[in-house]
Symmetry: C2
Subunit: 214 residues, 2 copies
């Protein structure tokens, strides 16, 4: 049983958010804080009814359909936040937006590396892997719980992050070759270890001793 | 058809990672970079076989069972990274670790607010909602794409984050009362808007004064 799409009477907003689950809602709350208006589209009836009870204005509709995007004002909006959790629907929607509304800046949630690579191909302006930054945060707190100073832990994460994003770019060419992906991952791990060692050696043994003593 | 648990021959490591999917693996790679050894437990046979092909040392086993935790060296480890994606298994495991290995510091991945509240009750040392930081990052980039300066966007996110974490603490008492949760969410939204307005007014005046003086 499918409910018909909602009529969208709110299509002059600078931002469209596709997917209003735990990811899209946070973005909506930040925009509301700054009094920036947005049109939210959500493909699950239950989710629409739930978030409406919390005072949100959100429309039931499938963002991967052109007529829904048109009704939401995609031709006039500035930013399209692609926060769908389904990978295929996300890729389909990104592709549709790029072809029909090339001026709309797409900011995308990616499920994993493979999804991120597909979004890169389509030419989305910016993407972030959905659990990536929280896992880095937990890694930082793990390092601190093991006795590293906060500054040392933060610097470790910064370096890992820079290396990982570079590696993701490099994986674009070899993505369909598992053997090469394995080699690339192993090489990246070695590079990271070496990068760190080279650096701690030059930074001086004194600092290391102090860090270990504390 | 269930494969028997792996024999764990690697149980003197300072860190145990429960759940070696996209979340746990990032933490494992950061630890490896810093040459900190860990024991990884994963409950999906397919996932174990897959990540092993990339050179990872990971054991097939259910982290919510006491004998598996004992075999993994929970009595001697310092930090327990709880990176399971299943909410109930995560809560069961956290509870087991707290009761049997009270000295082990638990760093946990939470699926959403409700999961986070349950982990707080059990007394985990630190938790982070799994998509929270990436959604804040996408919100920041959305603000920048709309023309805000990077500094302004970063400050907006910092303020939202501080408010949201405080709100999460406050929701502990009213979590089972949907009507009160709705009121609390709406009040939080109003507070955030007001916080920002009050502040931009004073900051604006301050900045103007400084500009005139210089």
């Amino acid at each position: 049983m499918k409910r018909p799409d909602d009529e969208i009477d709110d299509n002059e907003n600078p931002v469209i958010i596709a997917g209003f689950g735990r990811f899209g809602q946070i973005i909506g709350r930040v925009l509301r804080m700054r009094r920036i208006s947005f049109t939210a589209l959500e493909g699950s009836v239950a989710q629409v009814d739930f978030v409406r009870r919390f005072g949100n204005k959100v429309y039931y509709g499938d963002a991967s359909r052109l007529e829904v995007l048109q009704a939401a004002g995609a031709a006039r909006a500035e930013v399209f936040v692609l926060a769908l959790d389904d990978v295929d629907a996300s890729v389909r929607t990104a592709d549709l937006v790029r072809r029909h509304f090339p001026n709309l800046k797409i900011m995308a949630r990616a499920r994993n590396r493979q999804h991120a690579l597909r979004l890169m191909d389509i030419g989305v302006r910016y993407f972030i892997r959905e659990t990536y930054l929280s896992s880095l945060d937990l890694a930082q707190h793990t390092l601190e719980a093991l006795g590293l100073t906060r500054a040392d832990a933060i610097e470790s994460i910064r370096r890992f992050d820079a290396h990982d994003r570079k590696q993701l770019q490099a994986q674009r060419e070899i993505r369909d070759d598992e053997q090469k992906l394995i080699q690339s991952a192993q090489q990246a791990a070695r590079e990271l270890e070496q990068l760190f060692e080279a650096d701690t050696t030059t930074e001086g043994a004194e600092e290391q001793r102090r860090a270990q003593a504390s």
